[in-house]
C-alpha cells in the first residue's frame, strides 16, 4: 500500500550539508507492523514524517496506493490526513482546551461531520476511557492521554497508523498496555509503522527496520516470532 523509493532528506547547504536520510527505500504492505529502530539522530522520526507527508523530501518518491504523495501540495495532503493515514505522537499532542471526547471528535470537525458523539464515545470505550470522556488532557495520566490520542487516530478509520515513540513517555506497564492496543489494531488489518528505540517494544512488530546514520542498516523479519 505504501512504497518509498530512494528517499533522501538533507539539511543545510554545501559543506555543512547533513543527510538525515540517505537513499532509503521501504515497502509497507497491508497488515504490516513495522518497527523502525535506531539510535537518536539516525533519522527515524524524519522517515516517519516523510511517510505521512508531514515533511518534504530532498529527493526520492513516496507512493501511497499507487499515487505519488511526496510532491503534493498542502490541500491535497489534507485528504490523506483525513482518513488514510493517522498519527500517534510521543508527546500525545492533544489540544489542552478540549475534553478527551472533543479531542477525539476534532478530526471529524475538520472533515465537516459533526454529531458523531456516539461514534467517538464508542472508540473511547474501545481504548478503555469511556469514563474519562469529559476530562481535559491535564486531568489524565500519560497512558490515558495516549489512549485518547489513539482514539483520535482511529476516529477516521485509517488504514495506516504512524506512531512516533508512542510509549516513550510511559512506564513499562503502561507502555505494554498501549502496545497491546496497537497489536490489536494491527490484527484488525491496519498497517502500523512505529518508531522506537526500545528492542522489547520492537519485539511486537512483524518486521524491524534498523536505521543508522540515515541509512537502512538491517531489516529483520520476525513474523510469528517473539511476542512477549
Amino acid at each position: 500500500m505504501l512504497e518509498i523509493n530512494n528517499i533522501s532528506k538533507a539539511y543545510g547547504e554545501g559543506t555543512a550539508k547533513v543527510f538525515a536520510l540517505n537513499n532509503v527505500s521501504l515497502r509497507v504492505n497491508e497488515g504490516d507492523f513495522i518497527a523502525v529502530m535506531g539510535p537518536s539522530g539516525s533519522g527515524k522520526s524524519t522517515l516517519l514524517n516523510i511517510i505521512g507527508g508531514l515533511d518534504h523530501t530532498s529527493s526520492g518518491e513516496v507512493i501511497l496506493d499507487g499515487e505519488r504523495i511526496d510532491n503534493l501540495d498542502e490541500n491535497a495532503l489534507v485528504d490523506i490526513r483525513r482518513g488514510r493515514i493517522a498519527y500517534v505522537f510521543q508527546q500525545y499532542h492533544l489540544i489542552p482546551s478540549l475534553t478527551a471526547l472533543e479531542n477525539v471528535l476534532l478530526p471529524l470537525t475538520f472533515c465537516g461531520t459533526d454529531n458523531k458523539d456516539q461514534k467517538a464515545l464508542g472508540i473511547l470505550k474501545r481504548v478503555g476511557l469511556e469514563k474519562r470522556a469529559e476530562h481535559k488532557p491535564s486531568q489524565l495520566s500519560g497512558g490515558e492521554q495516549q489512549r485518547v490520542a489513539i482514539a483520535r487516530a482511529l476516529v477516521n478509520d485509517p488504514s495506516l497508523i504512524l506512531a512516533d515513540e508512542p510509549t516513550g513517555n510511559m512506564d513499562r506497564k503502561t507502555g505494554k498496555e498501549i502496545l497491546a492496543l496497537f497489536d490489536q489494531l494491527n490484527k484488525e488489518g491496519r498497517s502500523i509503522v512505529m518508531v522506537t528505540h526500545d528492542p522489547e517494544i520492537a519485539g511486537y512488530a512483524k518486521e524491524v527496520v534498523v536505521l543508522q546514520d540515515g541509512q537502512i542498516a538491517d531489516k529483520i523479519n520476525q513474523e510469528g516470532g517473539n511476542r512477549c
Binding site: L54, E74, Y87, L94, I95, F110
Partner: protein
Amino acid sequence: MKLYQVVIKDIMRRKKRVLYASLGVVVGITTIIAALTIALSGQANIYGQLEKYGANLMVMPAISDVNVGLGGLNLGTLAVGENYIPEDKLPEVRQITDGKIRAAWNIKDEEPIATIAPKLYMSTKVNGTSVIVVGVDPKEEWQLKTWWKVSQGKYLDAADEALVGATAAELMGFNIGDKITLNGEDVTVAGILEDTGSNDDYQVFVPMETAQQAFDKLGLVSSIDIRALCSACPTTEIAAAINGNITGVRAVAVKQIAETEMGMQEKVSKFLIGLAAITLAVGCFGVVNTMTASVHERIKDIGIMKAVGASRNQVMKIFFYEGIIIGVAGGLLGYVAGTLLAYIVGPLIFGGVAVTYVPQYFLPSLALATLIAVIASVYPAFRASKIRVADSFRSL
C-alpha cells in the same frame, strides 16, 4: 462539534490574552464613540435652543467697549454709550419687525404680529440679599416665554404684584402674599414660577411701570426681546433693519448666534473624529501584533490540528473567528467606555452640554470593531496557515 466551538473553548482558556488583544479595538472604538456622542449632543443642544429661541431677536443698547491703556499697557475696557433704550423707540421697533414679517409672508392685516417684550433690569437688595428685579410687560412676556408655568399663585396682573423665580423664592423664603419692598416701593408676591433651568429662576418680575417708578427710570428699558411669528421668519433681516434705522441700539438674531456656534462645534467635532480615526488605526496595528504573538504561541496547537486533518482554510478560519470574537468584545467594551467618556468629557468641551448616550451607535460600533479586528487577523491567519506540521513539532 463545530469549528467555532473549538475556537470558543480555546478562547475561554485564554480569556485574558483575548481581552488584551481586543484592547487596541477598545481604545479605538472608545474614542470614536466618545467623539461622535459629544458631537451629536452638542448639535442636539444647539438645535434644541434654536427650536426654543429660533424666532427670537434681542435689542440692546449700543454700548461699545473701548480699550483704555497707557502706551502698550492695557488697563481694561470702558463701556461707552447709553445703558438704556428710550421706551419711545418701541413703536419704531414694532413697525420694522411687523413690516418685515408682512413683506415676507405677504400679510395684509394691520394687526400687530410680533411679540415685543421690553425689560428693565435692576439690581437691588431685598431683606439684605442681592436680587435682580426685572420690569416686564406682563402680556408680552407671557407670550414670549411660552415655557413659563406658574407653580403657585397666579401670573402678574396688577401693578403692585410680583412674580418670583423658583430658586429666588426658595432662597429668600417667599410665599404667596408676602410683601417685598423694592427700593421703597411695596409689592405683593402674586405667583411663583416653575423651575425653568434658566436665569429666570433667580429673578423677581414686576410690571414695567412699577419697576420704572421704583428705580426712577421712567421711560427707559434695558433691552427688548422680540419673538417673530415663526422660526422661518426673516429674523436676520429684521435685526439688520433695526440696526440700520434706529440709532443707539444693537439687534441680534438668535439664529445668527446659533449658526456661529454650530460652525465652531462642527470644527471641534471634525477634529475629534479625525483623532479617533487615528487611534482606531493604531489600535488595529495593536491587534495585528497581539494576534501574531498568539499565532507564535500556538504553533504547536496549529501543527496538531493540521496533523489531524485541518486544511489551510480551516486554520485561517480559526483565526478569523478569533478576530470576530475580539472585535465583538472590543466593540461592546468600546461602546460602553466611549459613552462614559462622552459623559465626562462632553460638558468640558462644549461648556456644560448635557450628553445623552446614543443607542443607534451600538450596532455600528460592533460592526466597525469586528471589521477592524477581522482585517487585523488577515496577516496572522495567513502566517498560521503556512505553518508546516513537522516544523511546528520541531520548534518545541
